[in-house]
């Protein structure tokens, strides 16, 4: 058991920065040469979204995760929770943790579209008028902080070590960038993966500006949650006619400061 934990922790320590930065460069270079949809000022778009990402990581990971909840200091702690009495082996706890956190993220995402206060924060992600891989990094720090609290909370309740979320993040970070990437994926990506994973075409439906697309496909990593809870919507042959949040399409909502201020400034304009 200790051996499996050591292997997984090493995989997280090496794979987390490697896959995140490797996925970043892979898509940055690919999109630069062969974009699916060309749009003006790509460089500015990338810099703004990456700028928000840096603020988000410092705030959600450093302030909320590190200082307020002490997650870093408690990463390796043995937890005591609902599953403790079952005395499951570590591999089963890891599988249960990955599934539980992905279900929690599905639930949090659905609530973000239902509860106005959460939507004000989550709209920053949806307000991107051009989807590219940096859209997958574009989250308001408060939105991410609430998400981190939800995910860490479910692990604590179940009694699963917090580092298990790092295992899911190995897949989540590159996948999130890939889901938003402005490239033409090979056909096998959609055909071969959609039964298990949320694919780019499936997630593009969710970025539609209008219902029913925006009210579907809330899954983050696994696609079966949407099928199980009746929110799955298969992608059509053509893209959604409108992407983003039209009332937040103006340039003043797209700067780093504009995105940070959106939850306060947009109260009167967002439905």
């Amino acid at each position: 058991m200790a051996n499996l934990q050591a292997v997984l922790l090493e995989a997280v320590r090496v794979g987390y920065p490697g896959l995140t930065l490797g996925g970043f460069l892979f898509l940055l270079i690919w999109e630069g040469g062969r974009p699916r949809v060309a749009f003006a000022d790509r460089r500015r778009h990338v810099l703004r979204n990456v700028g928000l990402f840096v603020v988000m990581v410092v705030f959600a990971d450093g302030v909320v995760g590190g200082a307020l909840f002490g997650i870093r200091a408690r990463l390796l702690d043995a937890q005591s929770g609902l599953l403790t009495a079952l005395d499951w082996p570590l591999w089963a706890l890891v599988v249960a943790g990955v599934l539980a956190t992905d279900l929690a993220s599905y639930a949090y995402h659905r609530l973000s579209h239902r509860i106005h206060a959460l939507w004000l924060m989550h709209a920053v992600h949806h307000s991107d008028p051009h989807l590219d891989f940096t859209t997958g990094l574009r989250f308001h720090p408060l939105d991410m902080a609430a998400y981190v609290a939800a995910v860490a909370g479910i692990l604590v309740v179940l009694g699963i070590p917090l580092w298990v979320e790092g295992v899911r993040a190995l897949l989540l970070n590159p996948l999130s960038m890939a889901q938003h990437a402005n490239v033409v994926w090979p056909v096998w990506v959609e055909r071969g993966c959609r039964w298990l994973l949320v694919t780019p075409a499936m997630h593009r439906v969710h970025h539609s500006a209008d219902a029913p697309g925006i009210d579907a496909n809330f899954g983050q990593v696994f696609s079966f949650w949407d099928r199980a809870f009746g929110t799955y919507r298969a992608p059509a042959a053509a893209d959604p006619p409108r992407i983003g949040v039209p009332v937040l399409a103006a340039d003043r909502w797209q700067t780093v400061g504009g995105m940070l201020a959106t939850p306060w400034r947009a109260r009167s304009v967002l439905p």
Binding site: G22, F59, A67
Partner: protein, 56 residues
């Protein structure tokens, strides 16, 4: 503006506190071989992007 300023001050002060926490409690300096393997993965990503970009 005041809210953003307050948020900024909160962010800077608590991040400093978080960093001091992590230095005390968690080994945060990666070993050389970890940097090497992570760097190799990044290099593979960059080369893969270049190949995808040139693909007909």
């Amino acid at each position: 503006m005041k809210r953003i300023l307050s948020l900024g001050l909160l962010l800077v002060s608590t991040t400093a506190f978080a960093q001091s926490n992590s230095v005390v409690f968690v080994q945060s300096v990666p070993a050389l071989d970890e940097i090497g393997v992570a760097g190799l993965i990044v290099l593979v990503g960059a080369i893969g992007g270049w190949i995808a970009r040139r693909r007909k």
